[in-house]
């Protein structure tokens, strides 16, 4: 085993949060940082210059982790058997330089102020008995106002395109009136919309709802960011989610944080290298990470700080795998907190329509060339007489439709069956005449949904896989029925000639894509009795280990997690740079 020179920070993973830490910590200091990335190096040019191959990127998952070497197992409850996630379905963790942010859809949200106090808000407004005994939701240790400056900085780094709805308390027409107050508007105007997004906007307005353009980490115009990166606007080519952007209009570490980090000469990303474990000293402190390169040789990278900055599931797994005499159940797990409050994101399309002789150009644009409503998200509406708490954002289908990933299921419910002459004729007429409304719902935490190590399945390196125990509960099923009704009202107001509604949520199935938003499992909290880390992602029982990303979420609100992942990483970077490294080993307060 080769032991490298010690560095200040080593991160497991070379994706979004690692690049943010590097870009925020290194330029103004003399620190050194290394990231260990399991996938290959990849760059806007030439790797994504010619990537309009939907079979390779959509159906064959060219940018995703190689499940053959390691995957995750799942079971619906603790009494059921677990089986490996053998092929991509429910979620799509990426690999390679830049991580999953290279192939993301780029919806960039700030969570709503109520989302950070979800237990208190619901108890105060509806009474304690409205929260089921098994529901283990808890307030975040920080509020919206703590994160606002970091959301703001993130949005200007990324050049987010959108329309402000609440500027310093002033509600602005055309934006999201439910958002928390922001100090500055979005740096760039909203993206264009397809004809379908426009129709959705109009229908929502007619219904008295509050539609607004999707906030997107995709540039609507040329943008020079605070680091001096010069970037071009989106070309609306229609190849976005699951692809790298060929012009760099979709924000990723490649476009934004890697250039200033690498320019310091003190940041190194070792690609095609897989971390096998976090090593600890006798006193329980982490000493660095052990990893294996593409030729199977083992390395040890000593560091003052170890950051778990891989995908949510692997961050939790790496904590659990780091068992030693000092931490017999793994790092962060001295009080059995790791794996608790594993949550997800319900993403369903309960209402779909078919408009005869109409085309919406849904093959253009990207996943953000549409519009949203937050009228039924969080506690933005009265739940007094409802049989659930929480909610979801509802959106119209964006764009970027292409055949090989869209055709199976597209005419489900409109055609008697999805093969044969009638179906073919209908497909020819209607491929661009059907559209869906989908919602992105919150995922409350439950005692029975959790992560641990699988007792049977091991990865290519002989290490136990992570086991996901997860299923939906009545709150989600009831919420789905409510959202299906609202979605149906909108799709009918959009004038669809035929409508298909899925009234029931059904059981969670891991083979059906919903979103790459597994969250929780290494949650932040106010003290070691209710969480794995403090609000900086610093592990209570091992203060020189930090966790970044959505594993920190006590539960997942009804919006995509990436914006908050970024804001939290900004806050952690600042704390490490300005405070922790001056006094290493101490808990940040």
């Amino acid at each position: 085993m080769r032991t490298h020179d010690p560095v200040d920070i080593v991160t497991i993973g070379g994706g979004m949060t690692a690049s943010i830490l590097a870009a925020r910590i290194l330029p103004s200091t003399s620190h050194r940082m290394v990231s260990i990335e399991q996938g290959p190096a990849q760059w806007t040019y030439p790797d994504f210059a010619h990537n309009h191959d939907s079979l390779r990127f959509n159906n064959r998952y060219a940018l995703m982790q190689d499940l053959n070497r390691s995957t995750w197992t799942w079971r619906p409850n603790a009494n059921a058997p677990s089986l490996p996630y053998r092929q991509y379905g429910s979620f799509h963790p990426g690999q390679g330089l830049g991580g999953a942010m290279v192939h993301w859809t780029a919806l960039t949200w700030r969570f709503l102020p109520d989302d950070f106090h979800v237990r208190s808000v619901n108890e105060e407004r509806y009474g304690r008995d409205r929260i089921p005994a098994e529901m283990t939701i808890q307030d975040w240790p920080i509020g919206y106002e703590d994160l606002e400056p970091y959301y703001d900085a993130l949005e200007y780094d990324m050049g987010v395109s959108g329309k402000a709805g609440n500027l310093d308390g002033r509600i602005l027409p055309g934006g999201n009136p439910f958002e928390g107050p922001r100090k500055r508007p979005y740096p760039n105007p909203p993206l264009e919309r397809t004809a379908f997004g426009e129709l959705y906007m109009d229908a929502c307005q007619d219904l008295g709802l509050h539609p607004f353009p999707t906030p997107a980490g995709i540039l609507s115009r040329g943008w020079t960011d605070p680091y001096g990166n010069v970037r071009s606007a989106c070309l609306y080519c229609g190849f976005c989610t699951r692809y790298g952007c060929e012009v760099g209009a979709k924000t990723s570490p490649l476009t934004t944080w890697l250039p200033p980090a690498l320019a310091t000469g003190r940041y190194e990303v070792r690609t095609d290298s897989r971390v096998l474990g976090i090593e600890t000293a006798d006193d329980g402190r982490a000493t660095g990470v052990r990893y294996v390169d593409s030729r199977g040789r083992e390395h040890f990278q000593p560091a003052e700080i170890v950051v778990c900055s891989a995908f949510t599931l692997e961050n939790v797994r790496n904590l659990l795998l780091a068992r030693s005499d000092a931490h017999p159940e793994g790092i962060g797990n001295d009080r059995g907190m790791v794996g608790r409050n594993y949550t997800y994101q319900i993403n369903q399309a309960p209402a779909r329509g078919l408009w005869r002789n109409r085309r919406f150009n849904l093959f253009t644009g990207n996943g953000c060339t549409n519009a949203q409503i937050h009228d039924f998200n969080s506690d933005n509406f009265d739940h007094s007489d409802l049989d659930f708490i929480g909610g979801a954002r509802i959106q119209s289908e964006g764009g970027q439709r292409e055949p090989v990933s869209s055709i199976d299921g597209l005419l489900d419910g409109f055609a008697d069956r999805e093969w044969g002459a009638d179906w073919k004729a209908m497909l020819g007429q209607s491929w661009d005449s059907v559209g869906e409304l989908s919602y992105e719902g919150w995922s409350p935490a439950y005692e029975g949904n959790f992560l641990d190590l699988d007792p049977t399945y091991k990865d290519e390196w002989g290490l136990p896989m992570l086991r996901i125990t997860f299923d939906f509960r009545d709150n989600e099923r009831n919420m789905h029925r409510f959202l299906a009704d609202r979605s149906e009202e909108i799709v009918r107001a959009m004038g669809a000639d035929e409508v298909v509604v899925e009234r029931e949520l059904g059981d969670y199935r891991i083979d059906q894509y919903q979103s790459t938003h597994p969250t929780g499992g290494a949650i932040m909290g106010t003290d070691p009795g209710n969480s794995v880390t403090n609000s900086y992602g610093q592990v209570w029982d091992t203060p020189n280990v930090f966790v970044t990303g959505a594993a920190l979420y006590p539960q997942n609100p009804g919006a995509n997690p990436t914006g908050t992942v970024g804001a939290l990483a900004f806050r952690t970077a600042e704390a490490i740079r300005d405070r922790y490294l001056n006094d290493p080993g101490e808990l940040l307060v």
């Binding site: 010619h50 191959d53 080519c237 644009g365 489900d412 073919k424 049977t456 298909v500």
Partner: protein, 330 residues
Amino acid sequence: MTQGRERTFLGATISRRSMLGSTAIFGGLALAGCTPSSEREVPEEQSILAPDREPTPPGDLGPDAYAFFTEEEVRSLEAMVARIIPGDDDDPGALQAGVPVYIDRKLDMFEAFAEPTYRHGPFAQGYEDGEEPPADPESVPVPEDQLYRYGYQAELGPQELYRLGLAGVDRLAQTRSGSMFADLDAGQQDELLMVLDGVQQRSEGGGSGSGADPEADAGEDTGSSGPSESEMDQAEDLFGEADPGSFFNTVRIDTIEGMFSDPAYGGNRNLAGWTLIGWPGAQRSYSPHEMMHGTDKQPTSMEGLTPMNPDRAGGGREALEQPREGVHSH
């Protein structure tokens, strides 16, 4: 399976012929017009040509030769895809678009799966209510009615699934009608395929065919009764190790892929699939006007996509010249 196996990626083995074939096709195309002028670090251009990052090439077999399927299998497969997406010369379907060749190339190129797949045991062993088998380190007992929730769990790879499935289709045709599947009339073929489709829906606790939806106010109730339980049981018996439902679904999905993927993969000849649905294919851009009002752009394959040229005005040379030092593999 005619070629030597050279290297492994994603658990699949890729033949040398495939690698060479694809380089020849895409080599001059991807970077035509790229003339980096900077003396500074220039990206490795061939990364886009790396064999683990590119489509299945048609190879040098000629458009109608088969590498994986036997003659007998080709007859059954052609008959099947011709019912999944029927067509003729005026209105091309799966046969006219070369879908069987697409499927043949995919199976020839990937010994296992074209997509990342975890293929190690123990594998699931389904059981009916109250009949849980004893513990066994080689398999994981799972209630039959819960299996669909776990997604793909079969031990069979796609090559074996096709071999067993096509044989099963003929056995079922023989048992039902006394002749091979390809020799049945179209109506009989459809009835048989509906049995297979029904098995797939049954395994998910659903109705009796893809597309059926109880809540749709679309279409009309056809009043057709669908396949009976005994017909579906018979199919399962005759297919043996292969599941008739997942076999049918695999062929249906592969038919969609072959009809609508880039012609570089062997199907979608003359862009028949894209013309059918009105997809312009690989395009560099759409204007806001096109997003609202539609486009006149004609279907274009990847081969026809305008090359990227970073030296063009606004072509992104600045992005190209961003620092890259510090990112490396051991």
